[in-house]
Amino acid sequence: MRVMWVVFSKEFLDIIRDRRRFIMTILLTFVFLPLLIIVPYSYLITRTARQNVDVITIPVQGMDHAPALIDYLVKHDIQVVAVNDVQTLVARKDYPVGLIIPSNYEEKISSGHSAEVVIVTDMRRTMATVFTRVERVLEKYSTELMHTRLQESGIEQDFFTPITVRKQNAATLAETAGSQLGLFIPAFIISFGLTAGMSIAVSSIAGEKKKLTLEPVLFTTISRVQLVLAKLLAVMASVFITLLSIGTSFSIMGLGIVWVVLRYAPLDKVAASVAGNAAQPSDSSPLADGFHFDPLAILLFFLAPCLIILLGAAFQILASTWARNDEEATTYLMPLSLLSGITAMLVFFLDDFTPQLGHYAIPILGTVLSMRDLLSNHIDPATLTVMFGTSALYASLMIALAVWMFHREEVVFRT
């Protein structure tokens, strides 16, 4: 065990002592990447929140034609300025949107007809949400006017909505949540799991062949099985450290965005605005609707990809042993990178797919399916046994193949 620990720790010390690379990796994962996400996203969220609740000012052409409408807009925190040419002002980016009220507006409204008002917007400004806000207020005003007209005519509102539609979910809350989470999380874990240890696998064998550091180790009494297993463990550890780092990095991103939004976005006004619009029933995510994970499902969820990651690590060790040098090993391992990309695409085809027990024996697919099941709190002993059993078998075979390859003198000594 001590010998294996020395080989294992040597691989990590070698990486950590490459100070520039190590510091760059730390900065990239925990500083640059979170900043790259936090800054634009929190800006976007804060700006959207402000545009939805702050008092805004829009130019209006023909303001005198609709005093009631103007009052309604002002009451909803939309200030207006009278102008003669809305089109030019919006095109010049002086205002995000403007309103044109036709001269016959009042006449049409009072005679019970439909009056057209024009919201002028600049479609180049893709991030502006002011248009939606003005449109929403105008639609609300229109609905209120319709209600008034119906009341005056003695017609019930239901007369115009003979059919109401309600959506009913055939899946349970847990299944829906699992499906939503299962869209990305399993693919994310498996994709990174299959590729994150690649650099250490390549450098620890093919790289050592190139640097001629492998031969002196082979001259010692250390067994090749110990050597392969220690390097395999180093690859596995590197994968788990990477996954943990990325998870931490994402947590930093999430917390960073929440902090910026809490500090700078007018959340009290947003809450008030949401409360004011709460008439519509929410078909919000079940994730935010009191859903809870089964602790056993969580445990199995995190255990599920371990064997397939081990299989990937053993394959990387095998390819690295076969290769003459690190460049060649990287070329051999390119299909694995593609495979991890395919895993990410796989989930998009699973919606219409009803898996049979045999599908759980297919490497990667079986793991993704099991992880999706577990995210839905669905613990099926049969499918889990097939998935864990076959994954363990594949991983064992691949490790045996890697050890066998490492014993082949014509492979180990070719450079």
Partner: protein, 250 residues
């Protein structure tokens, strides 16, 4: 003691062709003796050393190191051998002390015995100034000393040294030669592969001349000169190899 009997090794080449790197080589080296392996590039010296180190399996024949057969007891063979490869293969980001500790552990050493041996080798090879510096900017002489210390860490009874003074300056080469002489005095068995004939003549008790994987001649430097009818080893070497027509550049 190292005994080599009828050692033969083929390598597979493209289209199922075989290349014979070593063909029926036999020799014996006693404890307290230095044997030189001489031969042009591709003569099979490194392959013989790798077979003696139980790294490559011979097709025919065998070798015994301190009584252990390379075919049946490869791990015991490696335990009583210290091997200095032609290319030192040091880890750039590790210090000499860390190299010695790591390889000592690979040989099953630990604790005070290991640390004591590390200090002893650092002192003996005069590496105190750089024992705790990373190896990445070491000169050839410094790197060779680290590799030598690594070879000696488990105090092996038998040494295989592949081109031990190649590319070294005068001072470093002298230190390495002294170490070989000391090992011999301590009763160790040493096989050295070298291109430097003057060094072979001075250091080796006996020489094995190889060409095309076969033993062309073996004996003491004086007996080889006598057999070739030449008064120096270089001329004898070329005569025995049948390469006397090699032109001298002027």
């Amino acid at each position: 003691m190292i005994e080599v009997e009828n050692l033969t090794k083929h390598f597979r080449q493209k289209r199922f062709k075989k290349f014979t790197a070593v063909d029926g080589v036999s020799f014996c080296v006693n404890d307290g003796e230095v044997l030189g392996l001489l031969g042009p590039n591709g003569a099979g010296k490194t392959t013989i050393m790798r077979m003696i180190a139980a790294m490559l399996k011979p097709v025919h024949g065998t070798a015994r190191v301190s009584g252990y057969d390379v075919r049946t007891h490869p791990n015991q063979v490696r335990g009583v051998l210290g091997i200095l490869p032609e290319y030192w293969g040091l880890y750039d980001r590790f210090t000499p002390r860390e190299h010695l500790r790591m390889f000592g552990i690979f040989y099953g050493m630990k604790g005070v015995a290991l640390e004591g041996r590390i200090e002893e080798l650092i002192t003996r090879l005069e590496m105190q100034d750089y024992a705790d510096r990373e190896c990445k900017r070491f000169s050839k002489g410094m790197s060779q000393k680290v590799a030598l210390a690594r070879t000696l860490i488990h105090d092996p009874q038998n040494l295989l040294l592949d081109e031990p003074t190649s590319g070294l300056d005068v001072m470093s080469a002298r230190q390495v030669r002294q170490l070989m002489a000391d090992s011999c005095k301590q009763g160790k068995c040493v096989i050295v592969s070298t291109h430097i004939l003057s060094e072979a003549e001075r250091l080796c008790d006996r020489l094995v001349l190889l060409d095309g994987g076969k033993v062309i001649a073996q004996g003491t430097p004086a007996s080889l000169c006598e057999r070739a009818g030449r008064d120096n080893l270089e001329d004898a070497f070329l005569k025995l190899l049948g390469r006397e027509d090699v032109e001298v550049l002027s």
